[in-house]
């Protein structure tokens, strides 16, 4: 694939890339800490992955193979257009196969297949501050992070238990990184939280509108907040995938008609397609 010569490699200018790269390095050195950066205006609106795209653009090179997923799917508008963007401005190869990718940009899912040391996972983050619903003042949340004062989040989880009998947070479930920083895992389902813990791949997080970058280095402890008598439980729909039969993957509920018909299918389209192909091969 040849790239469009009208743009610098990977769209951003070099001084912007250096600024983002320095922020990423400090993020890696302080796992879970949000590093401010000068997010640029990108050729797509906020909420479509401007933070993730800028991180990917600062990281990606001509030898990389890029995969982009949106809620686990490779074939949604956001994923397709971000892949097309990087094919055009960086000339990189793209793939839908998790195993073949070296850089995976994701919106709100972690692939089912275990990631390796040779991969980098880039999350699109709408709101990097895990405490923002509890404390709106950034000056206050900065101080709470400085003091590792996270009692407020425990009170919130406790109130969940008092009201509902269990912790009623099914996505964007707060985590402690390396025992120091409270971090938003971005709105991935709580089902995916355990995959972040001691993951061999480097995890980078970019929030474009909020202008923050943070990171989890490989093999770093990521613990979902919980209580001794209410341990964290990853939740999934109690069904098997209609297409591939998986009982261990995260499922989407799909309405099939207007008479109450519904099926459950894997949210990770590559994982599902791979399982269907291997099942067909076996038959």
């Amino acid at each position: 694939m040849t790239r469009d010569p009208g743009y610098n490699f990977a769209y951003l200018d070099e001084s912007t890339k250096r600024m983002i790269r320095r922020a990423i390095l400090k993020g890696v050195a302080i796992p879970g800490h949000q590093v401010p950066f000068g997010a640029r205006e990108m050729p797509l609106p906020y909420g479509w992955g401007t933070g993730g795209i800028q991180v990917t653009a600062a990281v990606i090179g001509p030898a990389d193979v890029l995969k982009v997923i949106d809620q686990g799917a490779d074939d949604t508008t956001n994923a397709v257009s971000i892949r097309a963007f990087f094919r055009r401005v960086a000339g990189v190869a793209t793939t839908e196969r998790t195993a073949e990718a070296t850089v995976i940009q994701t919106r709100h899912r972690i692939p089912e297949r275990a990631l390796t040391e040779n991969q980098i996972l880039v999350y699109q983050v709408p709101m990097p501050e895990p405490l923002f619903r509890l404390e709106a003042r950034i000056a206050e949340t900065k101080r709470m992070h400085a003091l590792a004062d996270y009692g407020l989040m425990h009170v919130k989880l406790y109130e969940d238990i008092a009201r509902h009998g269990h912790i009623a947070t099914s996505y964007n479930y707060p985590v402690m990184v390396n025992g120091r920083y409270l971090m938003s895992p971005s709105p991935i389902p709580a089902f995916d939280n355990p995959k972040m813990d001691r993951m061999p791949a480097l995890q980078l997080f970019g929030a474009g509108r909020e202008k923050r970058i943070y990171a989890v280095p490989p093999y770093t402890s990521v613990r979902s907040l919980d209580f001794e008598d209410h341990p964290f439980r990853p939740i999934r729909a109690p069904h098997a995938c209609t297409l591939c039969g998986a009982r261990d993957s995260y499922l989407d509920e799909v309405l099939t008609d207007d008479r109450g018909g519904r099926i459950f299918v894997c949210s990770d389209t590559d994982h599902c397609a791979e399982r269907q192909a291997s099942r067909e091969a076996a038959e």
Partner: protein, 191 residues
Amino acid sequence: MQTRFAGFADPVLDAQAGFRAVLEAMSRPGRVQQMVAPPEVPPGLSPAAASVLLTLADAATPLRLAAGAEAEAWARFHCGCPLVADGAAFVLDPAASLLALDAGTEEEPERGATLILEVASLQEGPRDERCWRLTGPGIKDAQRLQVGGAPAGFVADWARNRARFPRGVDVILCAGTRIAALPRSVSIEDA
């Protein structure tokens, strides 16, 4: 003074490859990475250190440099960075003490400086010889790193740097064209 020495052969792609090497080094502390070397480097700088500066330093990053007049002219031209004595974001000065550099604040620890440290040699994990044993984020169990020519008392200073986490200074070790990184989160034992 003007410089006679060139920068990267390909400023865009070499900087990208250089960044990935530094990123890999920083996210897997103690693993040795190969840097993209510029075709020529001024006297006083190793190819790896020159490459790190070309990759990361620019007008927004004050640099404290003590590597001779040729290196200063080269850095001023290719990186465009202000050369300062205090408050530097990047420090390449053998006389710099780890604990005297800017360590950031509790609220903004990312303001901590990055120390670029020239050493004689870098070698990953020889089992029987005397070397450092690194543990912390980015390391599966433990990583062994042999550093030739580290400053005297570095491991003791590092323990104090580590103790003030999240404040602290991050270190990029350079030897020839090879680098290894010590983010402030890592612990070093002299084993």
